[in-house]
């Protein structure tokens, strides 16, 4: 396929008249794992919400495989192939684990593959199989995260976006989650990862972008970042 899978050109977006993202550009190639790091409140979540259509743009364009998606509704963008696993999970609290996963495969294209995808998700995340009948609001933090990721996998799609998958979890659980992410990458998935923890992504991402005050101030491979301690110190507090 010629050209990047996701092309973001000079986008601006924000809340209440204030722009959080300022003329941001980004390209993601198919099969790559791209990580966005940076201090909190500087636009990482806003970027993902702008891509998935939850937040309208004030300028610029976003294209998936060459086709514009930035003026479409969120549900159309999902149908086009962008899957957003949001920060804080946003599970359906009064539905069971199974029902949450079933909702992941709501789109007709995904619904036809419901059975096989459920098997795949349960194979990747066996804890979910155990707790499939449990109501989502009664799950632990780690279990909720797994349901969120599993739900995103049920949708399929061409681009998987994960917003801070390690947030608020114990290291052991984070290991499990990242295990899944690594396996997904190995199977050829295109992944856009937003993370606060640099250490987790440094050796896994093909490319890392540093987002500060709504702009990318640095990008490169993980190994390059580790050899630039001054960047780590300035933006990420060491």
């Amino acid at each position: 396929m010629a050209g990047p899978l996701l092309a973001i050109e000079s986008i601006s977006a924000g809340y209440l008249g204030r722009d959080v993202l300022r003329e941001l550009s980004l390209e993601i190639d198919e099969g790559a794992l791209v990580a966005i790091i940076g201090p909190n409140g500087h636009g990482k979540t806003t970027l993902l919400r702008a891509i998935s259509g939850l937040l309208p743009l004030h300028g610029g364009r976003i294209a998936l495989a060459g086709a514009d998606i930035h003026r479409r509704r969120p549900d159309e963008i999902v149908a086009a192939g962008v899957v957003h696993v949001p920060q804080g999970d946003l599970l359906f609290p009064d539905m069971t684990v199974l029902e949450n996963l079933q909702m992941g495969a709501y789109l007709p294209a995904a619904a036809t593959k419901m059975g096989e995808r459920l098997d795949e998700v349960f194979a990747l995340l066996p804890k979910l199989a155990e707790r499939r009948g449990q109501i989502a609001s009664t799950l632990s933090g780690g279990e909720r995260r797994m349901v969120g990721v599993g739900r995103g996998l049920m949708t399929g799609g061409r681009l998987l976006m994960l917003d801070e998958p390690s947030l608020g979890l114990a290291p052991i659980v984070i290991d499990q989650i990242y295990d899944v992410i690594v396996r997904l990458k190995a199977s050829g998935r295109t992944i856009l990862l937003v993370e606060e923890s640099v250490a987790r992504v440094v050796d896994k991402a093909d490319r890392i972008h540093l987002l500060d005050n709504g702009r990318f101030v640095w990008q490169g491979a993980g190994s390059e970042l580790m050899s630039r301690p001054e960047i780590l110190a300035t933006y990420l507090g060491g």
Binding site: S12, G17, D19, H58, G59
Partner: protein, 331 residues
């Protein structure tokens, strides 16, 4: 800040001059008495506008408060022979007490719940009044329930204008009501442009920040609710004094709708909006007297259309246009 004050003052002076001149120019009684009624509704809607638009309290008890003022003055006059000059301010006072009771009950609730609760309270009072058939007293004119029942309360005294002014007594009513309206509008201006207005604006736009600065929504809302109830009760008492009667028909939902439409058409949260809305709707009502069948249909349609298409009302839309021209083109 002073620019808006000056503009408000200018508008107010012009309107006041026109209002003062009306009875001198128009000699027909009907026009003057209708204008007096307009003043009364204008007082009610400016106060209701403060509660709804500034305070963000979705109260539907406005007419219950109006009735409270009216019934208090009327019953004090009827049962205790209290002169109306005393009864009217007392009516205002009692209404404040009632509003504080209602406020304490309601103000912990959110939006639509407040609406339901205040509506329920108003309806309970209404149902009680019309269903109370026990005769509290038994004058020669017939059984008189405590609150007058369906027929209402009459013969509770007069303002004395007939003795003083003879056949043109209604002009005195006109000026008295106008005076009250001026006070009510001044109060409205002080609230909207003053610190309370700013506090409510902060609560609306940025509740977290406002609370962190010590602005207690509950306390401010209660104050506003109580203060605006005073004028509403006064308006009710003056209404009763004007017509020398008060009955449960003021609880009518159609009337509530009519008044709500005035606010919506004129502009919720603005100072002059309710007045404009009141004037327009009363004129429209006059003009549509022939088509009384379609009155309510028209009213409902106007209400829905304005809320959907012109939510800021006429005054709000005008203000928006003005601000739009001044604003620099943004990203």
């Amino acid at each position: 800040m002073s620019r808006s004050w000056r503009r408000d003052l200018a508008v107010g002076v012009v309107l006041l001059a026109i209002a003062v001149a009306v009875p001198l120019l128009f000699k027909t009684r009907y026009i003057v008495t209708q204008a007096t009624l307009f003043f009364i509704w204008a007082i009610v809607v400016t106060q209701w506008n403060l509660v709804l638009g500034v305070g963000g309290i979705f109260s539907l008890a406005q007419m219950a408060l109006f009735a409270c003022g009216a019934y208090t003055a009327a019953m004090l006059g009827y049962y205790l022979a209290v002169p109306l000059w005393l009864g009217i301010p007392l009516g205002g006072g009692v209404t404040v007490l009632l509003s504080l009771l209602i406020g304490l009950a309601c103000l912990r609730l959110r939006g639509p719940y407040v609406a339901l609760l205040t509506l329920a309270i108003a309806q309970v009072i209404f149902i009680y009044i019309i269903n109370d058939t026990d005769c509290f007293t038994n004058p020669p004119s017939g059984c008189m329930p405590l609150f007058g029942g369906v027929r209402g309360v009459t013969r509770f005294g007069e303002l004395g204008f007939r003795e003083l002014f003879g056949t043109r007594f209604y002009v005195a009513n006109y000026y008295l009501t106008l005076l009250l309206l001026v006070l009510a509008v001044l109060f409205s201006i002080v609230i909207v442009r003053g610190p309370m207005g700013l506090a409510f604006q902060a609560l609306r736009d940025n509740p977290g920040y406002a609370v962190s600065r010590g602005i207690s929504r509950f306390k401010y809302q209660l104050w506003l609710f109580g203060l605006s109830a005073f004028f509403t009760g006064l308006a009710g008492a003056v209404y009763a004094a004007n017509f020398r009667a008060i009955g449960p028909d003021v609880f009518s939902l159609t009337l509530l709708l009519f008044l709500l439409s005035m606010i919506v058409v004129g502009g919720l949260g603005t100072i002059w909006g309710p007045l404009l809305g009141a004037a327009l709707l009363m004129l429209a009502d006059e003009g549509m007297k022939e088509l009384s069948d379609y009155r309510n249909i028209g009213l409902g349609a106007i209400l829905a259309a304005f809320v959907i298409l012109l939510p800021r009302g006429l005054v709000g839309a005008l203000a928006g246009l003005r601000r739009g021209r001044l604003r620099r083109p943004g990203p």
